[in-house]
């Protein structure tokens, strides 16, 4: 049986019919068609599916679609505006913090939430904030640098 949820995705209000057992991750990717958010593990242990809900990072593979009625969701697609990249995205590119790119959407959103809370984070703050986003390619060094360079 379908339920209606009203939510805002990347600044746009939408009303969607969802099933009780549908995951937010699948809603975003399959129903809304925003495939920047990735499924890595499906169990909340890798962070690839990270989105912001009301500004805070969550692993969308463990959120039900019915649970986000009335919420504001930000996916990676919501960071650039009018084709202009967010400074964080720019910094990731300039600092070589992207290799295969699979962890990157979730990583950037975790970093974005951090910078919104702490505009000038220490390295320790950064590593703690992204500890829930696993990267198999980069060894995290350039990711941390990219985030630091954005805050300066």
């Amino acid at each position: 049986m379908s339920k209606l949820v009203n939510l805002e995705i990347n600044g746009k209000t939408v009303e969607l019919a969802v099933e009780d057992h549908q995951l937010l991750l699948d809603l975003i990717r399959d129903k809304v068609g925003l495939t920047g958010t990735k499924e890595g593990c499906g169990t909340g242990e890798c962070g690839a599916c990270t989105v912001l809900i009301d500004g805070e990072p969550f692993t969308s593979c463990l959120v039900l679609a019915v649970e986000v009625n009335g919420k504001k969701i930000t996916t990676i697609e919501g960071l650039a505006s009018d084709g202009i990249l967010d400074p964080l995205q720019d910094s990731f590119i300039k600092n070589g913090a992207v290799q295969c790119g699979f962890c990157t959407p979730g990583m950037i959103l975790s970093a974005k939430a951090l910078l919104n809370r702490i505009p000038k984070p220490t390295e320790r703050d950064i590593r703690k904030a992204i500890a829930g986003n696993l990267c198999r390619c980069t060894g995290y060094g350039k990711i941390v640098k990219a985030i630091q360079n954005t805050s300066e």
Binding site: M1, H21, E39, G44, C46, G47, C61, L62, E67, K128
Partner: protein, 293 residues
Amino acid sequence: MRKLKAFSHLDSRTTEEALSYLSKYGQESKIIAGGTDLLVMMKTGKASPKYLIDIKGISDLDFIKCDETSLEIGPSTKINTILQSDLIRKHFPVLAEAAETLGSNQIRNRATLGGNICNASPSGDMLPPLLCLDATAFILGPSGIRTVKLEQFFTGPRETILSDNEILTKIEIARPRNNPVAVYLKHCFRKALDLAIVGVAVKFELNNGRYSNIRIALGGVAPTPMRAKMTERLLENEGIDETTIEKASKIVTKEISPVSDVRGTAEYRVGMTKVLLKRGLRLTVRDVTDSEE
């Protein structure tokens, strides 16, 4: 792709509503708060409830209250809320310390104290510190409220004394006259997103220069989180110094019964319990000594 089998999601606005759903659907239902344990179990076929009773909307279950006599925490309080709470950081910082080791930031925005307790993993991170603080669980059922000391709450791995028609409504911790000193040490491979191979919590109060109300609670070394009472008694009687710390590290091995699993052998867990107990005792003694100077 990990998908969920179909179920009905029931939003509850009050605890009474949640209880009536529990009574109606019994074993076919499960309570969901953050869902960071439950949804994983459902995705991996370890649980398949037909009804999920969502308690996130019940504001009565989400609170942190502290007065001169006690700290009270509602079961739907998020782990990150505990981590960031000024009241908890001031009066019971070990709970914030333990909260920070749990999962990841994303998980902590969702996971709840009640979930960690009711999921009853032998290595749940909030559990050894709660045991050290002599926490009491308040449980609501059809016939009213009952209280249970948290150390009686756990009956086995992922098993508790909760009946199918009961819900945890509050955790209460009495505030001692002297500020307790406590530490939680979690031994695991990664800096986040890891379970405790062994978790050790140590707590005591300083009363006229004497270490009293010593508590040692362990995770990952028994079917449930546990208190090491023989070890506590030794230290209570003989004090805490390098000699008794060594003795304690030997006594504690007689109280634990770890198993071998993917994270480590039983022998490794025994060894690490000794190491972390010694470390925990030294750290707490140093903390209290530093604060006296």
